[in-house]
């Protein structure tokens, strides 16, 4: 029998395996980006840095009983009777958290991982860029970056490159006939030094247009909102000098603030051409195509007034001819997996009748998980010298 108190400060096993777990979480996130991109917790995060998102594939799968179809034994306060309801199953078949007791083992269907939005963003933005970016007359200073890219014999001791120093030492010792490490002399020291790199980039403006007419229900607005959430984030992370113009429209279009753009709800009919006309006006007044790379994006359910379609196509053509790329996202009803071939829908009209489809990308979104592919479709890498590669609209 004894009491001991040892030094446990070197005990790190738990922490090391926690890292292994984190690796698994990251891997799972990478595999599930599609569903994470449009997860409510992130889109509605309101500036929080970390959010909880459910992640498939992180469970420890075992043979186990179906909790919902099993009988369990519980304990009451002495007054329970047959027929008493002691908990309720949450609807939607998700995780069962019946009033206290049922939640205990009612296997949450998905593992909830705490994720950092910045980390997710980094993963998502890895392969995204503004397509067809061209050098324009007016340039803006982009950023100043330090790069450690040189090795010298003198320098600040904090920048000592130990690996190279050891190699040099061994090499020198070898030259002196004694190949080993040790007896370091001043001539073995190697230092890393840096250089300041300036990066210049062309000006760019993104014109975000959203349809807020009556037919844009909760789901449709949510989809458009998640797309723009990531787009704005993406532009601000990757480019210091991108202007974003927000336009919302129903039968009339107006320029709005970012906050209004993301929060307002309106109703009424849809006249798409009004937004395009306003975009063209703004370009004319503020963003000369000679100086600016211009990217208009428009999200709508495609339910345009029939009489406006001619005008919409004409203005879209005009936009395309002044812009680097015109992106149009058409949002379907939730869960309608097949493409509605209704002649009224704008996407099919665009793909039939636009004159210049080289710089047009049309995407149809029927499901939350389509947001990530849409982002990739609009901002995916394409070669500067292969214009027109993305003319085909993606039709699921």
């Amino acid at each position: 029998m004894s009491i001991q108190r040892n030094d446990w400060s070197l005990q790190r096993k738990g922490i090391i395996d926690q890292e292994r777990h984190k690796d698994r979480v990251k891997e799972a996130i990478r595999k599930n980006l599609g569903s994470i991109v449009s997860n409510e917790a992130i889109i509605l995060s309101d500036g929080k840095r970390t959010v909880k998102v459910p992640i498939k594939a992180l469970d420890e799968y075992k043979f186990r009983f179906n909790y919902q179809k099993s009988k369990h034994v519980g304990q009451g306060d002495g007054k329970t009777r047959v027929g008493d309801v002691i908990g309720r199953e949450s609807r939607g078949g998700g995780s069962g958290t019946g009033g206290g007791q049922a939640g205990q083992e009612a296997g949450t269907d998905y593992y909830e991982a705490e994720v950092n939005i910045d980390e997710i963003a980094a993963l998502i933005f890895e392969d995204l860029q503004l397509p067809y970016l061209e050098e324009k007359a007016k340039k803006a200073v982009q950023s100043r970056k330090t790069q450690f890219n040189e090795i010298r014999r003198t320098g600040v001791i904090a920048n000592l490159d130990k690996r190279r120093m050891i190699l040099e030492n061994i090499r020198r010792n070898a030259r002196e006939g004694n190949p080993r490490f040790g007896d370091i002399k001043k001539e073995d020291l190697r230092f890393k030094t840096w250089e300041e790199v300036m990066r210049y980039e062309s000006n760019a403006v993104v014109i975000a247009m959203i349809d807020v007419s009556g037919s844009m229900g909760e789901f449709k607005k949510y989809i458009a909102r998640s797309f723009y959430f990531w787009m704005v984030r993406f532009l601000r992370t990757k480019y210091d000098n991108v202007d974003i113009v927000f336009i919302s429209h129903h039968t009339e279009a107006k320029e709005v603030t970012e906050e209004q753009f993301f929060t307002q709800g309106e109703s009424g009919g849809t006249v798409v051409s009004s937004a395009y006309q306003l975009a063209l006006d703004i370009i004319k007044q503020r963003y000369r195509p000679a100086d600016w790379n211009i990217y208009p994006f428009h999200f709508s359910d495609g339910d345009n007034y029939y009489s406006d379609n001619e005008e919409a196509v004409r203005l879209a053509d005009e936009l395309i001819s002044t812009c680097n790329l015109f992106g149009y996202g058409e949002i379907g009803e939730e869960g309608s997996s097949s493409y509605r071939r209704s002649s009224g829908a704008l996407l099919s009209i665009f793909s039939d009748r636009l004159h210049n489809k080289d710089r047009f990308v049309g995407v149809r979104i029927d499901d939350k998980e389509d947001v990530y592919p849409a982002l990739k479709q609009f901002f995916g890498r394409r070669g500067l010298d292969t214009p027109g590669i993305s003319t085909v609209s993606v039709i699921k």
């Binding site: 738990g14 890292e19 777990h21 043979f63 186990r64 179906n66 919902q68 269907d109």
Partner: protein, 477 residues
């Protein structure tokens, strides 16, 4: 913690040890370690210090530590079943907390030493798991961390499916086998008869009758086999030696943990009843006594809705003691109980029972009523409703849920299904369905181990159903 406090604690351990022995407890010698919370949670999440690395341990560690950091839960005590045993004390514990934990730990250690389900337990398991960890690390070095990790994912998916009575069929060591062979009388007058059997079988196999006969299988392949891990290790057509060794290590560790899974309620109840009695025997000041009473009621209080194993076990032992100390007239006449046998009886129970037999034998109608136990189930997929309060039904349900430590009972029915080395598993259905989403995923893990198509027979909506997985896709009929 200051040296003075440690010396005080040493004195307390000595005193508690004396009291425990006076009560008739018989624990292994026990060493106590004072550790910071991180170490406490580490030992707690691995269940044994020094085990091999796997992300699932990291996940458990993270969860426990987060709960602790947010003040949601706190482990007071961790005990390791070895000889000598180890008890871990959280360095932030108060002196009274420490005393109670020490008493509680001695109760556990007495249980480990004397309960018959632990009679085959390896008491040097800490050393064993550290050699396992070493070997697992070498495999990671040789074959890559990812490879080993993925493989362990599959092994851990079926880790509970071992045979608790595995020691019965453990193979004899080479020496033992030799020794027994030597003892066997040789070349008796009729020994050539054995050869007849052999030649006949050889002839049949040569003739290619195709008929399979259980006698043709090696002794290792006696079916059905409940021990899935063992079966995979011995018979999987695709595993390479390091993989079989990894399964053997997990198997050995599970053999160590299974008795603990079989006696959760008994073990906690036993430790609780003795920490209470030992603490009462200590000469506590009034303030200390109040602190202890608070702690104790925190441990053995009923939680609304849930079943607290500490409380349930505690109440049953108390009830047994009472009924054997002071039997009713009926009990005296029917079972010829003499009275005043309570102490002896609970020591007998702690030696011979496991949770299943403990509940079946000693959960009485009066206790069910006093504890207000009930059966509840989900009605129309919406409301968790109390559906049964009759005590026999409640007891039987509890026993059923404890059977096979709460896991579905699966066994290997055929390792050469379709004559094609496919694996056929059977779920011994007893009224509760499998979680199918999990079942399919777990079947994928089984496929990883077996390397050829796998099948699982179970019951869905009261109809016999077979799930298939061939490495690419799932099937069902």
């Amino acid at each position: 913690m200051e040296d003075r406090e440690i010396r005080e604690l040493e004195a307390a351990v000595e005193q508690i040890w004396q009291i425990a022995q006076g009560f008739g407890l018989d624990p292994y010698p026990t060493n106590f370690e004072i550790v910071p919370a991180t170490v406490m949670y580490e030992v707690g999440s691995y269940a044994l210090p020094g085990r091999y690395s796997h992300w699932t341990f990291g996940k458990a560690y993270h969860r426990m530590k987060t709960m602790y950091d947010f003040g949601l839960s706190k482990i007071y005590e961790v005990v390791i079943n070895t000889n000598p045993s180890y008890g871990f004390l959280l360095e932030t514990n108060s002196p009274i907390q420490n005393k109670m934990v020490i008493a509680h730990v001695l109760g556990h250690v007495d249980f480990f030493k004397n309960n018959t389900y632990f009679s085959k337990t390896n008491r040097r398991m800490v050393e064993s798991v550290s050699t396992h960890a070493q070997r697992m690390m070498e495999y990671e070095f040789k074959h890559g961390r990812k490879t080993v990790e993925r493989f362990l994912d599959a092994v851990l998916a079926i880790e509970e499916h071992i045979d608790p009575y595995f020691f019965i069929k453990r193979e004899l060591s080479v020496e033992e086998e030799k020794r027994r062979a030597e003892q066997r009388p040789r070349d008796g007058r009729y020994d050539d008869l054995w050869l007849l059997d052999k030649t006949e079988r050889d002839a049949r196999i040569a003739a290619g009758s195709g008929e399979r006969d259980d006698k043709d299988r090696g002794p290792r392949e006696r079916l059905p086999e409940k021990d899935l891990l063992y079966y995979m290790m011995k018979n999987s057509p695709t595993l390479v030696p390091w993989q079989r060794d990894a399964i053997a290590m997990v198997h050995e560790e599970m053999e160590y943990f299974v008795p603990q899974m079989q006696t959760k309620i008994m073990n906690e109840g036993w430790a609780s009843i003795w920490h209470a009695r030992i603490m009462r025997a200590l000469d506590l000041t009034d303030n200390d006594h109040i602190e202890f009473a608070n702690l104790h009621s925190g441990v053995v209080s009923p939680q609304k809705g849930q079943l607290n194993p500490y409380y349930l076990g505690y109440k049953i032992y108390e009830d047994i003691e009472r009924r054997w100390n002071d039997p009713s007239t009926e009990e005296r006449q029917k079972f010829s109980r003499a009275g005043k046998e309570g102490r002896d009886k609970i020591f007998e129970v702690r030696e011979l029972d496991n949770d299943v037999s403990f509940l079946r034998n000693y959960l009485t109608e009066e206790l069910c009523e006093e504890l207000d136990l009930f059966v509840f189930e989900l009605i129309e997929e919406e409301e968790w409703t109390i559906t049964e309060k009759r005590w026999e039904k409640v007891r039987d349900q509890l026993v059923a849920n404890m059977t096979n430590f709460g896991f579905p009972y699966l066994e290997v029915a055929d390792g050469d299904y379709n004559g094609n080395r496919e694996l056929y598993l059977k779920h011994r259905y007893e009224g509760t369905e499998l979680d199918l989403r999990y079942g399919r995923k777990a079947l994928e893990h089984v496929y990883t181990l077996w390397g050829r198509p796998v099948h699982l027979e179970t019951v869905i909506d009261e109809e016999s159903t077979v799930l298939h997985y061939n490495g690419d896709e799932h099937g069902e009929d």
